[in-house]
Amino acid sequence: SVLSHFPILTDTKFDADGQLTTTDTSSNTVDTNPVKRLIYLDSAATSQKPIQVTKAIDDYYHKYNSNVHRGAHSLSREATSLYESARDKVSTFINANNRNEVIFTSGATEAINLVASSLSCPIGFCQANNWMCLKEGDEIIITESEHHSNIVPWQLAAQKSGAVLKYVPVSHDGKFDLDTFGELLSPNTKLVSVQHVSNVMGCINPISSIVELVREKSPAMIFLDACQSVPHTVVDVQSLGVDFIAASGHKMCGPTGIGFLWGKEALLNRMAPYMGGGEMIDQVYMDHSTYALSPARFEAGTPPIAQAVGLGAAIDYLDGIGMERIHKYELELGQYLHRRLEEVKGVTVMGPPVGTDRAALCAFVCEGVHPSDLSTFLDGEGVAIRAGHHCCQPLHRALGYSHSARASLYFYNTKEDVDEFVRALEETLKFFRSLDGGVDLDDEQEDDGFVPLF
């Protein structure tokens, strides 16, 4: 079990303050057949799940499984109660104004698409005089560093509505370019969508300055892609002052297949429906239908019930540790990772310089070694990192790389994990460099028993 590599995920309470730094609870027992700890450094892609989360899902299926909302029997009431209390948990976790502002989606990608699609309803379909709808002449501003899921939906929306999509360029040091951003903002700006934390550069964007600029210079709505912040730090939608946020469950110890959209209630209820189906309607007539208010308005069909319950359990789990504590621990871990990587010869870490606060992740490139080769060989050493464009092709293009490798950590990782990763990285780089400079594998000097077959 992967869980056995992360003792904290099977613990049920977190009273000791050193909990987050203790790793060798398992090494106390003498194991006759010891298993090497898996160095899982891909939590920005998806997190591992605490035992409480899978238990909550099992409990749901075994004890309360039933369809929600319209059922008049007790199982259905219990299922509804669990589902809706998960909404309450999310609502409290992000400090929403009220529970109706939280919409469960299949993930963050759907949350962004929901808003982009709903705001780009063709003229004639949208409610008369709905200021929110994107029209020709309107402008959408995003950044070049965004994840594809915060680019492509706005490209589609711009194509459909005739609005113009503008980009804040990437700064190589990972600093949000407030000057250019300020220049792009205008009374025509209808929507701004930025990520809270970059999944590649690890930089934490200055949301309060961004919000201030937007409010001063434009009437735009602000969408925050909070996928890489909600799992790692306290996110308070009211104090952030944005209009929408999106996050995914599977990156915050929750199940796959669930995420959420938060939006201001007044905005949500003015938006055109997204998917049609059961639950989202008030009345269905043959020639038209009338729609329910948020959140039902945007939750057509049987919702991801078990997944919401699992996400609720994940939130309870994270709250049990404390988001402040996780954030503090990860800031330190992130610095350590960054420092250690910078010390490795030929490695370039993307994003802000050492010393700047960053998420506990580093995307990097290694001179002469392709990220995909690197990750494959590190995998052989029991170190799981990711290689590719991390769904950020424009960002990579701007920085002049086609791909990068990325090590991303979560609260269950430790400095020892970082050490082991750096050790394996150095070894792998040494191996690849031995291939260079005309040193052939069949050279007797580098003999390790390998003979090419052909």
């Binding site: 008049a72 009431r77 109660s81 039902a296």
Partner: protein, 281 residues
């Protein structure tokens, strides 16, 4: 110590209920099982006055209910000159109609501000939320929301629409019960059973007079005299006068008390009852 009923039950007081709604909430909470709560609702549904077909129009329809619900109200001026509303309505589902009857009774005769202050959480205190689908699409919540909205609209219409409606947050004095009703009793230390019985009966029955005598000591040594393990309370004599008994047979009056005492009842060895309506005193 004197237990003031309204204040001892903190959870209910914080809900800003009207006196009638508070009474019914207490009463429903005292009903020991769900089936009986359902029967009470069905009974209330059967007593709800019929309405004219003109009420069954889309403007009066409550959205999101499993059954069809229509509700509306008129405005009256009460004795102290305040504008209060009187509700009426109907539903094709009987349980829903019972819930509607409960709201109609609990909200009628109050001002829009008093009605608006009501915290919908009282359905939990009344233990009737178990009957309802939780969360969104809760027909009961929608009923309450529609009734709150209609109260303001009706009063505004009555005022010729020229008076802006202000929902003030100021505390309302809703203490307008009749003087004769018993609202408090002297708690006896070390007699939990006595205190529990008194509390329940006063809360729900709103008696004009109630006396409960603990005769357990007279039966000391008698088999079963150790009724409630610690306190030794086992034998009681009750004399109660309440409006609720009006028109009920003797057997029904006893059944009503037994039902109200619910979980306490099996622990009592003997309960001697004298239950009268005020007109019989």
């Amino acid at each position: 110590t004197t237990t003031r009923l309204a204040s001892s039950s903190i959870s209910i007081e914080s809900l800003n209920l009207t006196p009638e709604l508070a009474m019914m909430t207490d009463a429903f909470a005292s009903i020991p099982d769900e089936k009986t709560r359902h029967k009470q609702l069905l009974y209330m549904a059967s007593k709800l006055p019929d309405v004219d077909d003109s009420v069954r129009v889309p403007e009066n329809k409550v959205p999101g209910c499993l059954s069809t619900v229509h509700v509306d109200c008129t405005v009256e001026e009460n004795d102290d000159g305040r504008k209060v509303v009187q509700y009426f309505g109907d539903s094709d589902g009987l349980l829903t109609k019972g819930l509607l009857a409960l709201l109609i009774r609990g909200l009628s005769g109050c001002t829009p501000e008093e009605i608006n202050a009501i915290d919908p959480q009282f359905v939990k205190a009344a233990k009737i939320s178990q009957t309802l689908t939780p969360g969104r699409n809760n027909g009961f919540l929608n009923m309450l929301a529609v009734m709150k909205k209609k109260a303001f609209e009706a009063v505004e219409r009555e005022n010729g629409g020229d008076v802006a409606v202000a929902v003030s947050g100021e505390e309302q004095s809703t203490e307008n019960e009749t003087a004769e009703v018993v609202t408090s009793f002297e708690e006896i230390e070390g007699k939990p059973m006595y205190n529990a019985i008194m509390f329940t009966l006063i809360t729900v029955l709103k008696p004009t007079s109630i006396t409960l005598v603990d005769n357990s000591s007279q039966h000391a040594g008698h088999a079963g005299s150790k009724g409630w393990a610690e306190s030794g309370e086992s034998h009681f004599a009750l004399e109660v006068v309440a409006e609720a008994f009006e028109g009920l047979s003797l057997v029904k009056r006893h059944q009503l008390i037994y039902m109200l005492l619910g979980e306490t009842m099996p622990k009592i060895h003997a309960l001697e009852i004298k239950a009268k309506s005020p007109s019989e005193v």
